[in-house]
């Protein structure tokens, strides 16, 4: 299945388009990479279901935990895919991811909540603003070595965070609009949750009443004893998954093309790319701006579920988590990026929280150990102390995983993968196409 066929369709209008569409869907679904992603996801669901059942969760609890897992798997997959374009393909070592995410989300807040634009228009505007910032950072940073670029991008992200959290810019007037970043606690006003628009008549009334689709949808989930808020979460997770699909489609096409080929060449040896006549600056700026824009959009999709916005959501750790996820999956591979996002978001990020919940449900500890010395008083206090402090231990684990991966398996879980940068199958000379 190919775009060559798409071309053929274009030139013979009214041809067997339906056939071709069905073929195309089938081809995508049967592609081994998609299967790989699906199998990973199912395996992770199985693990969580098993633990949940062992831990005694009810049906609603199980669904809701799967919903959370899907949510984090999806949001991480989105950011990781964006980073893969910059670092995996073009070798641009951007550790200012959190900054670009913050710019995207704050722009969204200003455009929708503060200025009053509709969700899709606000999102589009926010993405454009983020890509401009991406280009702005890329422009001078082009000449820098990878480690200097890292320092510059991290400093950029920290500058962004200080400005967003500062009292000075909590409220100001810009181009006639009274806007503001809201200081340390973030701007007032809840971001619109796009999924609510599908389900409710007036999503932001005090007691929103479901619309026709909402009635049907909630009714459906009632059959499986799933409450409305979990059902809503599931729809959001599906909405996110749709975007993962879109990102994947977009980035696979970007990577598997002459454009992607030049990016790879820049990563491998920029001097060679230049000596072969490629204006590498143009490619680097484009890749950086596109990647940043996708990071901004990912942040929007991530936090519109939550509604609130604060600068603390964009500490440098966010960036490093994304790096861990990409390295797990394997930098340079889009499929690996999705799998890395899933494995990281579900197992490493969400997994410990899930286990903490289950253990806390089981162990109603007598006295809460407050220091590490209390914890050594026995098995139970130790477990309780550990689970209480799981958020810290989780990051210790992430750090260790990162070190081990980079030492032993820098190519990621999937190993070296050949994702050939071309729109056609180069090895099949007779004309078979990708």
């Amino acid at each position: 299945m190919s775009d060559g066929d798409a071309q053929a369709d274009d030139t013979t209008p009214g041809g067997d388009t339906e056939q071709s569409v069905r073929d195309r869907i089938w081809a995508v679904a049967s592609a081994s990479d998609i299967r790989l992603i699906a199998v990973t996801l199912l395996a992770i669901y199985a693990i969580f279901l098993f633990l949940g059942i062992v831990g005694g969760l009810d049906a609603n609890g199980l669904y809701s935990s799967l919903e959370r897992v899907t949510f984090f798997a999806a949001v991480y997959a989105l950011v990781v895919l964006a980073l893969n374009l910059q670092w995996g393909y073009a070798g641009l070592f951007n550790i200012g991811i959190a900054g670009f995410m913050a710019i995207g989300l704050y722009s969204m807040h200003i455009l929708t909540v503060q200025i009053g634009l509709a969700y899709p228009i606000g999102a589009l505007g926010a993405v454009l603003i983020t890509s401009l910032f991406g280009a702005l950072v890329a422009l001078p940073a082009l000449r820098l070595r990878a480690d200097y670029l890292a320092i510059v991008t991290l400093a950029f992200a920290e500058i962004v965070r200080s400005i967003l959290g500062s009292q000075r810019f909590a409220e100001f007037t810009f181009a006639g609009f009274d806007i503001g970043f809201g200081g340390a606690t973030g701007p007032d006003g809840t971001l619109p949750d796009p999924v609510k628009f599908f389900l409710y008549k007036h999503p932001y009334s005090l007691r929103p009443e479901p619309n026709a689709f909402g009635e049907f949808y909630f009714g459906l989930f009632d059959l499986f004893i799933i409450d409305d808020s979990t059902a809503e979460g599931i729809l959001y997770a599906l909405f996110l998954s749709l975007f993962v699909g879109l990102y994947y489609f977009l980035l696979v096409r970007t990577g598997n093309s002459p454009f992607g080929r030049v990016l790879k060449a820049i990563r491998e040896d920029e001097t060679v790319a230049k000596a072969l006549g490629k204006d590498t600056r143009k490619f680097k700026i484009t890749a950086f701006a596109l990647g940043s824009a996708l990071m901004g959009l990912a942040a929007i999709l991530w936090y519109t579920k939550r509604g609130g916005v604060t600068p603390t959501n964009f500490e440098p750790e966010v960036t490093f988590f994304v790096f861990v996820a990409l390295i797990i999956g394997g930098a340079g591979s889009n499929t690996g990026s999705v799998i890395g996002g899933i494995v990281f978001g579900a197992l490493l990020f969400r997994g410990p929280v899930f286990i903490e919940r289950i253990i806390n449900q089981r162990l109603e500890a007598e006295a809460d150990p407050t220091t590490i010395f209390d914890a050594f008083g026995g098995i139970d206090p130790f477990i309780v102390y550990t689970t209480d402090n799981l958020s810290a231990l989780r990051v210790v684990l992430l750090g260790v995983v990162l070190v081990i991966l980079i030492q032993r398996r820098p190519e990621g879980l999937l190993g070296k993968r050949k994702e050939i940068a071309s729109s056609i199958d180069l090895e099949d000379r007779t004309g078979g196409e990708n």
Partner: protein, 369 residues
Amino acid sequence: MVEQSQDHWLGSRLQTDPLTAGFVVIGVLFFLDLLRRLATGTVRPDTVATFLWSGIVFGMAIGLAGIGLAMTYSILQFANFAHGDLITAGAFAGWSSTFVIVGFGNIAMEILLLVGQPARISSQLGISVTTAPLAIVVGFIVSVLFAAGLAVGLDRVVFRPMRDQSGISLLIASVGVALALRHLIQFIYQPSTPSVVHDPEVPRQAIPVGSGSFTIDAHQVTLVVVALGLMIGVHLLLQYTKLGTAMRAMADNEDLAKITGISTERVVLYTWLIGGGLTGAAGYLLALEQGFLDLTLGWDILLVIFAGVILGGIGSIYGAIVGGLTIGIVSQLSIVWLPSEFTTVAAFVIMIAVLLVRPNGIFGGVTSV
């Protein structure tokens, strides 16, 4: 990319390129503006003196911490993002010891070891450099030793197996170390910011400036004096010992170091020992000066330290000292023009500007020690 040629130190200093000239012009303009503000009375002299003094104190700490970072940058060729958390680890270990010494017998051992967690006991202990000098000296030494040992240990486990890998791989590994280290400290000490000194006990002296005055306290003086002493020590070591020669040689060229007869791995070992030790010292002194410990004590200033190191010409130890001092002073003085919440922003902006226009640094242009 083809390597940029490394200008000779003197040569590049004398070189007058437009970019450096631009920096100088901007600096002079700010200085003139400062004078203007002083003359017109928009800024009081004692305010400037306060900023200047706190800039010197902060800058000495940054410069001291920067030596280790510059050493690993030049000798192991990577940007060590775990450096900040090494500062934190050293500070926590040192202050645990100080607390144990001061409070031994009166307060439960585990509370002392955790620097008074969960209860706050700093006022009970009443620590300051004059009330508990011995405990502070011991704590300081523990910080140095602990951070040095930790640095060597981390090198053994994490960095040594990766000697042949790229600087970026090492950088990523160091990020992993940073994450793990900081949260391990959090796991042990819990997230909070325990006070370590008892403020009323700290001797202070007001120094008159113009019609007003500014205050210096004993802990600030301690920091400046000890940091200065250590910097001089490093200078003597580099210039007058065989090890120092080997280190300087290795920063330039690995093969060259072999001529001195000291093996590469030995030089690396001492790099971590000395760099790590100085880092621990900086951490302990910073906590002494600011009066409390913080899980992000080191991480929060890591980029500022990078800024100093970059300003001084990455990998140059003397550059790191001068760069750190400059960044410290400039970031504090920036309060004259900017809201005080933007001091680090000012430091970062300078750093980015230096990286973009003159990646060899403005004080050096050497990549050697």
